[in-house]
């Protein structure tokens, strides 16, 4: 990556980083991805721990040979697909416009 030392007295990146709009963008991004990550990791490890320490419960048959454990496992697929859809919609609607606007402002400030 660009290793050259920046010589401008005013660094556009430093300037943008301190603006309230950028702080808001960062807050928005982390406010979405951090809780979502915490959720899916907790849900995944709950599944792992139940499979390991409660095999009897997970082996309980619900209908035919379909067990609670199998439904739990399929539930992991469902949540993974759902989080993918939710994140993608959120990013397109909420995050991208704000991020693009700030990126464009940086270009304008630089006189591109």
């Amino acid at each position: 990556m660009s290793n050259e030392a920046r010589t401008q007295a005013e660094d556009p990146y430093l300037a943008l980083q301190t603006t309230s709009e950028f702080q808001e963008l960062r807050r928005k991004f982390r406010g979405f991805v951090f809780p979502m990550t915490a959720f899916f990791l907790a849900w995944y490890f709950l599944y792992v721990l139940l499979s390991i320490f409660a095999p009897g419960f997970m082996g309980t048959k619900v209908a035919g040979n379909i067990t609670i454990g199998l439904l739990f496992g399929l539930g992991q697929f469902v949540t993974t697909f759902a989080i993918t859809i939710i994140y993608s919609r959120w990013a397109t609607r909420e995050f991208d416009p704000a991020a693009d606007a700030l990126g464009a402002r940086l270009d304008a400030d630089k006189g591109h």
């Binding site: 990556m1 920046r6 995944y44 095999p55 048959k61 067990t67 454990g69």
Partner: protein, 549 residues
């Protein structure tokens, strides 16, 4: 199905070796022609490493699926489900959920701040040389284990599918696979490799889909009766196939070992260098996001299919025949194909399995050669100077060397357990790479000492714990007087003291802790570089420069 051989001969080979070889050869010829047409010629470093970001999110997502659904996923998981039922299914869930880490935390920010290699991102705001050297060592270690696993898988497949059982002949086939892979990489660079992965992914998913529908059709599309048939045909496991515990439920150590493995699987994917490299083949972070979305749908869909394939193999082939075949669990999916569609379907599945190994190995080779040429040669050895031509030449030489190492390693590792090697690669990636990636993307206070502590600490602890674990020495033999189930089969040699097979439970938290410890004990902080990296990572500013360059 005139070519059908009786299953009684299955101990050495099934189906028609000539047909299997023919289908594989056809795949090689077709893909080589495509690689030459789309990607032959002189290349800039950008084109060689990342196809200059010329792919779109959908194409890259399919290629990621092709890269990720390795022989271990395809043959290994289907086999594990056939023999261990539910516990095999647990693997695929870890491999899938792991993609959310890549989607939410890594893919887009990495695309926005890197250009050629993983080290671009890790060294962005830190001291270039030490961080690049550390990252390169870790990239090479992870890729080497992953590469060995794939080549070892090739050796096992050969004896099953091509009817070749002689040592020398098997080695020769491994060498041929290695040479074809080197040809893809040298001729096509990342662009050619990507197309091979796309074609392979589509063939693999289509083939698995056909088997799934075929199996379900035999049971009137009733999953519950398929499960019943699987249990009926598994005298030892029976209905235990439906509940957890067959493999990991034995005692507290195996249970904790499974937690350790689960942790390595879910946190390892987003630290695999050849997976991360794929995000540079698209132009923007939005396309990187789209890539992961496609990858999640395809990989998730595929694992749902393997559930049916695995139970189908238990029901229609049965554990006795699977365990008797060369390659054991890895043979479950090919044997099922043979049972359903005879030699023709087996030939197609075998061709696809070889294509899988080729495509994954090619992706690993590109990534590792980029690390040699860009991080070690250009940035560290030449200190950032040196021409593009030189850099690409070094990358090509590195690809040949890696190919030769893969061939030799594959010949030596062909009796090793594939799943163990892959789990090792995931554990090392989750320990040595992921903490540093997350810290450099999200933590202001992270610095060079933190990165070095975390990378070396994660790498050394993960590999060290493996060396002193039961996978290397000291596992009891399967039957009294037999060879040990460890890598070292001599039961007299036992130097293990770490009780778990997988080191993740210790080495991953340790690497996160060391990253924190190193950072808070060093005052280094480059505010301007941090601002540049953070602003770029979130806004995507400057990502176009990397493409036009």
């Amino acid at each position: 199905m005139a070519l059908t051989l009786p299953m009684a001969d299955a101990a050495t080979t099934v189906g028609s070796p000539a047909l299997n070889i023919g289908i594989f050869a056809a795949f090689v010829v077709v893909t080589l022609v495509i690689v030459i047409r789309v990607a032959a010629g002189k290349k800039t470093a950008e084109q060689y490493y990342t196809a200059a970001g010329a792919f779109n999110g959908r194409q890259n997502g399919i290629a990621i699926a092709g890269d990720y659904l390795s022989a271990a996923s395809f043959l290994g998981i289907a086999g594990a489900i056939a023999l261990q039922g539910y516990d095999g299914f647990l693997y695929s869930i870890g491999f899938l959920v792991a993609w959310l880490v890549a989607l939410l935390l890594v893919a887009e920010l990495l695309r926005n701040t890197g250009r050629f290699t993983m080290a671009d991102v890790l060294s962005y705001r830190l001291k270039q040389r030490p961080v690049r050297i550390a990252t390169a060592i870790s990239v090479i270690a992870v890729s080497f284990f992953y590469l060995l696993a794939q080549m070892a898988g090739a050796g096992g497949l050969v004896s099953l599918l091509l009817g070749i059982s002689g040592e020398l002949a098997q080695d020769l086939v491994i060498a041929i696979v290695g040479i074809i892979m080197i040809a893809y990489v040298l001729i096509g660079g990342m662009k050619g490799t990507t197309w091979v992965q796309i074609i392979k992914a589509l063939l693999l998913i289509a083939g698995t889909f056909v088997i799934t529908v075929w199996v379900l059709g035999k049971y009137s599309f009733n999953i519950s009766s398929l499960f019943q048939a699987a249990a009926d045909n598994s005298p030892k496991a029976g209905e235990k196939l439906f509940e957890p515990g067959l493999k990991y439920g034995k005692n507290l150590t195996t249970k904790i070992d499974f937690i350790s493995l689960s942790m390595a699987l879910v946190l390892g994917t987003a630290g695999l260098p050849h997976v991360l490299q794929r995000f540079y083949t698209v132009p923007t972070s939005k396309q990187a996001r789209k890539s992961v979305e496609w990858a999640i749908w395809l990989i998730g869909g595929f694992y749902l299919l393997t559930l049916v394939v695995g139970y189908g193999a238990a029901a229609l082939v049965g554990p006795t025949a699977i365990n008797a075949a060369p390659g054991k669990a890895n043979a479950a999916a090919p044997l099922l194909a043979y049972e359903l569609g005879g030699s023709v379907l087996l030939g197609i599945i075998s061709g696809v399995a070889f294509a899988t190994i080729l495509a994954v190995v090619a992706g690993l080779t590109i990534t590792t050669s980029a690390t040699f040429a860009h991080d070690l040669y250009k940035e560290v050895f030449k200190r950032g100077s040196g021409s593009q031509e030189q850099e690409v030449r070094v990358a090509r030489i590195a690809a040949i060397v890696i190919g030769i190492v893969a061939i030799v390693g594959g010949i030596f590792a062909k009796s090793q357990n594939i799943a163990f090697l892959v789990a090792l690669a995931f554990a090392v990636a989750a320990s040595a790479n992921l903490p540093t990636i997350l810290y450099s993307l999200f933590w202001k206070g992270f610095n060079t000492r933190g990165a070095l502590f975390s990378i070396y600490g994660g790498l050394i602890s993960a590999i060290g714990l493996i060396i002193f674990s039961p996978v290397v020495s000291g596992k009891p033999p399967l039957e009294p007087g037999g060879p040990s189930q460890s890598m070292i089969q001599n039961t007299a040699i036992d130097f293990h003291w770490f009780p778990l097979d997988n080191p993740g439970l210790v080495s991953i938290p340790l690497a996160f802790f060391l990253g924190w410890l190193g950072s808070v004990t060093s005052k280094e902080h480059n505010a301007a570089k941090y601002a540049e990296m953070e602003v770029r990572s979130l806004t995507g500013h400057g990502v176009g420069e990397a493409i036009d360059h």
